[in-house]
């Protein structure tokens, strides 16, 4: 068993505490005090030197341990640390691969693409119908010169209805887009109003659709062109390869009509 090395006699440590009083009745405290008194011996000096070294070494070691990370570890410790880091790296790699797969599948899932393009299609169609998007395509242009201002709103409405019957998909009258709630009227000066906007003759009606069908519809006996001719408005129809309908209509939110929520 190890022994306290300062004892000049060989005595095992495990005997524990020795009897404190040696005849003179000295207690531990008094002994400590006696020993504590400064003595100018060489051994005391040496002991002081060693104590200084010890304090210095303790603080240095503590500082070293705190500030150095891996340098002081033994080989076994370093290997264990490396194993742990490798394991962690493996787990992170697996997680990264899984997340990448998930992200890719979300990005390129075909179902979504079809839905998006379908929504885009519908938006275009509805935009043309509602007048929020410009349209262009083959169609006809009806020019009504109307020098005597004999054309009535009813005539314009007839023309629009006839064109729709003939399959017109977008209609524009004198720079005003004709949509579902377009109305025709006259103001006090007998000026033609379309959607409240005054228009002046000659009225140019543009329609995109099948040029043949529409011009045939216009030309039926007793139809639009006939009526306008009889009024003396001097209409003329021209089939065009490209009709540009640029007039737009700001979308108006309905105040009374509500959607009943059923999707189509």
């Amino acid at each position: 068993m190890p022994e306290p090395s300062e004892m000049s006699t060989d005595e095992p440590d495990t005997t524990g505490g020795q009897p404190t009083d040696e005849g003179a009745g000295r207690s531990g405290w008094s002994r400590l005090l006696r020993m504590g008194r400064p003595r100018a011996t060489r051994a005391n000096l040496f002991a002081t030197l060693l104590a200084v070294l010890l304090g210095f070494a303790m603080v240095t070691q503590v500082h070293e341990h705190r500030t150095s990370g891996l340098e002081n570890l033994s080989q076994g410790d370093l290997i264990a640390l490396l194993d742990g880091v490798n394991q962690q790296s493996l787990h992170l790699d697996q997680e990264r691969a899984k997340l990448t797969r998930t992200r890719d599948s979300l990005k390129t899932s075909s179902g979504d693409k079809a839905a998006i393009s379908a929504a885009q299609e519908r938006k275009n169609v509805l935009g043309i119908l509602a007048g929020t998007l410009p349209a262009k395509g083959p169609g006809i242009a009806i020019t009504v010169s109307d020098p005597d201002r004999v054309v009535q709103p009813a005539n314009l409405l007839d023309a629009v209805e006839e064109l729709r019957d003939a399959g017109a998909e977008a209609i524009q009258i004198a720079g005003v887009r004709v949509v579902a709630d377009t109305w025709f009227g006259v103001d006090d000066d007998n000026t033609m109003l379309v959607d409240g906007q005054p228009i002046q003759p000659p009225y140019i009606i543009l329609a995109i659709g099948s040029p043949h069908t529409m011009s045939t519809a216009m030309a039926i006996p007793g139809g639009v062109i006939d009526s306008l001719k009889q009024l003396g408005a001097h209409p003329s129809v021209a089939s065009l390869k490209t009709v540009n309908i640029d007039a737009l209509r700001a979308p108006k939110k309905p105040r009374y009509a509500q959607s009943d929520g059923s999707a189509s």
């Binding site: 306290p4 000295r26 405290w29 060693l50 070294l53």
Partner: protein, 110 residues
């Protein structure tokens, strides 16, 4: 008394200077410190027991430090470095504890 002051002085110097431990010294310093501590506690216990001797203290201090460093070095060479140094630390700790127990009994009779 003076060695105790010396210890405090050493602590202060170390705190102020913050030196870097040279590489060749790094494995031995912790064990050397523990061995030196063991010598110090043993000295205090010897004082309690009334058998303190300056010379013995100095010699045992130095020999403790040297032996501890030697054991660490030998263990590293043999390949049982960590086990051996663990054993040394355990034994030194044991000695410190038992010395402290003796001191306590002297001082507080408990």
């Amino acid at each position: 008394m003076i060695p105790a002051l010396g210890l405090v002085a050493g602590l202060v110097i170390g705190l102020l200077l913050h030196p870097d431990v040279p590489l060749w010294l790094q494995p031995y310093l912790p064990i050397a410190v523990v061995a030196a501590l063991d010598a110090v506690f043993g000295a205090v216990r010897a004082v309690m027991d009334g058998i303190f001797n300056d010379r013995v203290f100095v010699i045992s201090f130095l020999s403790n430090v040297v032996v501890a460093a030697l054991i660490v070095f030998l263990g590293d060479q043999l390949g049982v470095g960590s086990q051996l140094s663990t054993g040394v630390v355990v034994v030194l700790g044991l000695r410190i504890f038992s010395n402290m127990a003796a001191i306590r009994r002297h001082l507080f009779h408990a």
